[in-house]
């Protein structure tokens, strides 16, 4: 039995494929990360060195910046494959399209979400965040950024091939990301005020599970509609 005849084998193949492609175009990956670093770093400069103020705005700034940064790379999720025709071939594989889509989403998160999670603690120091708040911030981002990729994938599939799709994509996806923003920043705020962040994190976890179940399937349907 060949490795790609199973669902898991196909998932691995798609992730590996997208990672290889991204490594050939490192600039695209770096753009997202540098955008995130820049936006977050502008706030302490703009707001001024008042520690209380900075500590207060830190979770919101980091989360909003992560949200915007993840929008940047969403447009490329399917459009590159659409332009050179490889998306058609991906849709004709003997495995369900949702599996292919899930693979692409996971690769997208590893390239655009995970780097943000890893660099967030360093940026948090600029805002004088404590170790506990930083820990919860990272945990929240770890749970929340995959959901951003998944919701984004639905939008990216729906706006595929449209003119001005990039702006439309942001308008479509950003409102849907509001719950993640609320729970993500809520968890950090809870720790900062001495409360238990577990409820916020549980809700983020629940959103992640929900997205994991439905997003690949919905994205697959959206892709089929866009390909007509």
């Amino acid at each position: 039995m060949s490795t790609t005849s199973s669902l898991f084998g196909m998932l691995q193949l798609v992730i590996r494929r997208d990672m290889t492609l991204a490594m050939r175009r490192r600039a695209d990956v770096l753009t997202t990360l540098i955008f995130f670093v820049m936006v977050v770093s502008l706030f302490p400069l703009g707001v001024g060195p008042e520690m209380d103020m900075l500590r207060k705005i830190a979770p919101g700034v980091l989360w909003v910046a992560a949200l915007l940064a993840s929008m940047l790379s969403l447009g490329r999720l399917f459009s590159a494959d659409h332009q050179d025709g490889t998306l058609e071939q991906l849709m004709l594989t003997p495995q369900p399209l949702a599996v292919i889509v899930l693979g692409k989403i996971i690769a997208h998160w590893m390239l655009s979400g995970l780097p943000l999670v890893l660099i967030a603690p360093v940026l948090g120091i600029q805002f004088d965040m404590s170790v506990e708040t930083l820990g919860i911030l990272i945990l929240g981002l770890l749970l929340g950024t995959p959901v951003l990729s998944m919701i984004g994938a639905i939008g990216a599939a729906l706006t595929l091939g449209l003119r001005g799709g990039g702006v439309l994509l942001s308008l479509l996806v950003l409102p849907l990301c509001i719950p993640i923003l609320i729970f993500g920043t809520g968890a950090v705020d809870a720790v900062a005020t001495g409360l238990n962040p577990a409820s916020h994190l549980s809700l983020l976890g629940a959103l992640l599970v929900l997205a994991l179940v439905f997003a690949p399937w919905v994205t697959a349907q959206a892709l089929r509609i866009s390909m007509e």
Binding site: S2, T3, T4, S5, M10, L13, R17, T20, L21, R24, R25, Q83, D84, G85, T86, E88, Q89, L90, M91, L92, T93, P94, Q95, P96, M227, E228
Partner: protein, 230 residues
């Protein structure tokens, strides 16, 4: 069957030589198919059957719906009326199972510019469930006249060479039905000869092919049926 076609394709190895797993009668049936783009009706009442060893050319002017017909067969476009059946079962109900039986080659080459010919072919074969070794892929690309260019990123290749990388999928495909949209575009005489041989080889093993082209395509010893769209 002439497999050697000039010095560029001198390996002469037949990769598709193994017979298909199932020898039971398989066929593609299209009945009363109608498609439109927007408000414009492209064709209607289209019916035909394709049996093992048969090849059909879809003819028609630009914009007559040739590509739409092929894309409908692949399931990208949904038909307004009528149905497509594979071995008697509606294609829609077969889902991914039908994908394993067919190979589609579109206008676009479906190759990644950043990847080499070798990587492109390995990935596209893996996506259809085949694991190829580097040695096999290299021999295939050499047969298509891409010797020494297997490891170059496809963006530095010429249009015709990129088309050859895309067509390399035909050499390794185990699909029974080939759906080819303008397979000969951008190819030189020698490559056209090779593609004709590949199609003849495919048909002689009980394969089926439906294609569009604006160039004449002769398949040795086979009658090419035509389907005219107006």
């Amino acid at each position: 069957m002439a497999l050697h076609h000039g010095a560029a394709f001198d390996t002469g190895i037949v990769y598709n030589a193994r017979p298909f797993k199932y020898r039971i009668l398989q066929m593609l049936e299209v009945s009363n198919l109608a498609c439109s783009r927007g408000d414009h009706r492209l064709f209607s009442g289209l019916s035909f059957t394709l049996r093992p060893g048969e090849i059909m050319q879809v003819q028609g002017e630009n914009g007559s719906g040739k590509t739409t017909l092929l894309r409908t067969l692949c399931g990208f476009v949904s038909a307004d009326e009528g149905g497509i059946a594979w071995n008697g079962a509606p294609v829609a109900s077969l889902g991914e199972g039908f994908h394993a039986e067919m190979l589609y080659l579109g206008h676009l080459n479906a190759i990644k510019d950043d990847l080499s010919g070798l990587e492109n072919l390995k990935i596209s074969a893996a996506l259809s469930g085949q694991v190829l070794t580097d040695a096999t892929v290299k021999t295939v690309l050499r047969r298509l006249g891409l010797k020494g260019r297997e490891l170059l990123p496809c963006k530095v290749l010429s249009q015709g060479q990129r088309r050859r990388v895309a067509l390399a999928r035909l050499l390794v495909s185990e699909a029974r039905l080939w759906v080819l949209d303008e397979p000969l575009a951008a190819l030189d005489v020698r490559a056209v000869g090779l593609i004709q041989d590949l199609i003849a080889e495919h048909l002689s093993r009980g394969g089926m092919a439906i294609f569009t082209t604006h160039q004449p395509l002769q398949v040795d010893g086979m009658e090419v049926r035509t389907l005219a769209l107006s």
